[in-house]
């Protein structure tokens, strides 16, 4: 009896051995001793299989980091860092598949479709930690912009993922650096910064524009 897991691992094995996706669901099912129907019970297409594999990486990462002893003490920034490090640590074990899956995606500005399900999980996670961060005052609540924070994190994630697929440093040390430096910059922007004060000051001046006249200057 086929399960989600068995289909996924059979699929990974196939694409890594053959370097391409199976010609049809029919052939793939036949080779793995299941019916086409069984396959379709879980997945609508091969792309759906890949999407689910990616989503699994995300789910596993979130579960893993939340069980760490230090988790409750972490700030939002550290929680995000922890997600990134653990995700790429986990992904290391499936690097061949990850690279295969990403490389065959057409180059586009938006994130590749195989990551669609992962994106949902990522955004839920990001929402959660960002909300916490705003509540504790670690991050600044800005009108309109604070809703886009998670998009910035997702973009950062896409960047690191791309960086990692091309990283050939030992132990992917450069990816670690990319995470540390990149996320720190992003979170610095989420925090109250001189720009906020500048805008604040600007608003004040605009509101009190008639001050000069009043003072007779």
């Amino acid at each position: 009896m086929a399960t989600i897991d068995s289909i996924q691992s059979a699929y990974i094995d196939y694409v890594l051995t053959e370097g391409r996706e199976p010609q049809s669901v029919y052939l793939f099912a036949k080779n793995n001793e299941m019916t086409e129907e069984e396959f379709y019970r879980y997945f609508g297409s091969f792309e759906a299989v890949e999407q689910n594999i990616w989503a699994d990486f995300g789910k596993k990462t979130v579960t893993e980091i939340k069980t760490q002893e230090v988790w409750p003490q972490y700030s939002a920034r550290e929680k995000a860092l922890s997600f990134f490090y653990s995700f790429f640590e986990l992904l290391k074990r499936s690097r061949s598949f990850a690279v295969y899956s990403l490389k065959k995606q057409p180059r586009a500005l938006s994130s590749p479709r195989v990551l669609d399900n992962l994106k949902v999980i990522f955004e839920n996670f990001a929402d959660e930690i960002l909300r916490e961060g705003i509540e504790t005052g670690e991050l600044t609540d800005r009108k309109f912009f604070s809703k886009r924070y998670k998009d910035a994190l997702w973009m950062q994630f896409g960047f690191v993922l791309k960086f990692w697929t091309n990283d050939n440093s030992a132990g992917f040390e450069k990816t670690d650096e990319a995470i540390e430096k990149g996320l720190n910059v992003t979170f610095d922007l989420f925090q109250r910064s001189p720009i906020d004060n500048l805008i604040d000051y600007g608003k004040f001046l605009a509101k009190n524009g008639s001050l000069k006249e009043k003072m007779g200057m």
Binding site: E69, V70, L81, Y85, I179, E180, D188
Partner: protein, 442 residues
């Protein structure tokens, strides 16, 4: 606390781009100094280059000290290559450290997972994710294991690359700024790069630390932490925690002369034992690398930088400082030639000139070796030393680098040692570990 840190980071140009920008700015300033110089010269043809050189030196120095990191280390080395530190430099000496932003908690966890497959909490009974202080290229955390307090040093990722890229950035500017040719300077640059890269190899550091602390264990009043190789890796070092005060803190407690002398003696013995018995020396006499324990001993906590002294350097150099060789002009010149302080193509006038200058310099340097005890509190000796250094730094004859590459670290070590002893105001017996010399006079 965290705000302080953030502020600190903001003021240091960290990325390669920022650093490049900094160098470019210096280049422009120096260019400006040249324009100033030549426009003045239009009206006053007799103007010499002294003012120009001073302007340049100030600008270079300022920008390099803003940069910190390995760039400052290089600046340090280059100024030391002038054989004696300019005084302003010494003040900065103790502050020069690789200044990377602190590691985030998750990155520390990640580093442990990568090298040990476990998180720090699984390895130690207790681990403090907040670092207690910055080490030169990493940071130190406190941990506990089986009731033993530990110091865990973790290296910043990518330090090795950053050193190499910094040096690449410095090179072309250094050539121009110091008026040296690439070929001349390359030997020194490579020496510096080699040492700096060695510092990033924590596995090597642990091996050496164990080796050196064993070899030096017979010295009085010198203590070392215990190293745990099984809890160390390429980027992590675990050692026992040494309780004590840093030199500055120690001096603020107004210690007795006796205690100062005791610490000074321990330092002197530690360095000279290594130089003359081990022929390899802890080449980073940075005050931050020492602790003074509550029972008045000198604790040594960092063996990242070791300079080995080959025979073809050791014998000619120390026979100059420790025998009456300097009284014999021919033999002295012979030694200077071996050390490349006098070069094969020098004219007789040049030979005479460099002979005189280097002779003066070496006899100054060797002063502490010439008697059985030496009082390092004498300001006169240091003023003479710095004065001489500043004088020759301004002489056009010394624009060109001379001397074998080993001088960089050997000078750094010995002048560093002299400086700390001066700060300690210590009087030490200088005849405890003397050079072993074969008869170079033949």
């Amino acid at each position: 606390m965290s705000e302080d840190k953030a502020q600190e980071q903001n003021s240091i140009p960290t990325s390669k781009v920022q650093r490049s920008a900094k160098f470019v700015k210096t280049g422009l300033k120096v260019g400006g100094n040249y324009i100033k110089h030549y426009s003045k010269k239009l009206f006053n043809p007799d103007l010499d280059r002294t003012e120009l050189n001073e302007d340049n030196a100030t600008d270079i120095y300022e920008s390099l000290s803003e940069l910190k990191g390995s760039a400052l280390k290089v600046a340090q080395m280059l100024s030391m290559d002038k054989n004696i530190l300019p005084k302003a430099y010494v003040d900065k000496f103790s502050q020069s450290q690789y200044n990377a932003p602190p590691l985030s908690g998750p990155l520390i966890v990640q580093t442990f997972k990568k090298y040990f497959g476990k998180s720090p909490e699984q390895i130690y009974d207790q681990f403090n994710l907040k670092s207690t202080n910055a080490a030169s290229i990493g940071q130190v955390h406190q941990a506990m294991l089986n009731g033993q307090k530990l110091a865990v040093k973790i290296q910043y990722p990518g330090v090795g690359d950053s050193i190499s890229s910094d040096l690449k950035l410095v090179k072309p500017f250094a050539f121009r700024l110091l008026g040296m040719s690439e070929k001349e300077l390359d030997v020194y640059m490579r020496e510096v790069e080699e040492r700096l890269l060695e510092e990033t190899d924590y596995e090597l550091e642990v091996r050496r630390s164990i080796e050196f602390s064993n070899a030096c264990s017979l010295l009085n009043n010198v203590v070392f932490p215990t190293y745990y190789p099984e809890l160390s890796s390429k980027r992590i070092i675990t050692m026992s925690w040494l309780e004590g005060q840093h030199l500055r803190e120690f001096l603020q407690t107004n210690p007795s002369q006796e205690l100062r002398n005791q610490i000074g003696q321990a330092l002197w013995d530690f360095y000279n034992f290594q130089q003359h018995e081990l022929r390899a020396v802890h080449a980073d006499p940075h005050p931050g690398n020492f602790m003074i324990t509550p029972d008045g001993k000198l604790g040594i906590i960092d063996f990242g930088c070791i300079k080995e002294m080959p025979e073809d350097f050791y014998y000619p150099f120390f026979s100059l400082t420790s025998t009456n060789l300097l009284d014999d002009k021919d033999e002295t010149i012979k030694a200077f030639r071996k050390l490349e302080m006098i070069l094969p193509n020098d004219t007789p006038q040049q030979i005479e000139f460099y002979y005189n200058m280097y002779r003066q310099m070496i006899s100054l340097f060797a002063k502490p070796y010439m008697s059985n005890t030496f009082n390092f509190s004498q300001t006169a000796f240091f003023d003479e030393l710095y004065g001489f250094g500043e004088m020759i730094a301004r002489m056009p004859e010394f624009k060109q680098a001379r001397g074998v590459k080993h001088f960089i670290y050997v000078n750094r070590t010995n002048f560093g040692l002299y400086n700390i002893l001066h700060e300690l105001q210590a009087e030490v017996r200088t005849d405890t570990y003397k050079p072993h010399l074969i008869n170079v006079a033949e």
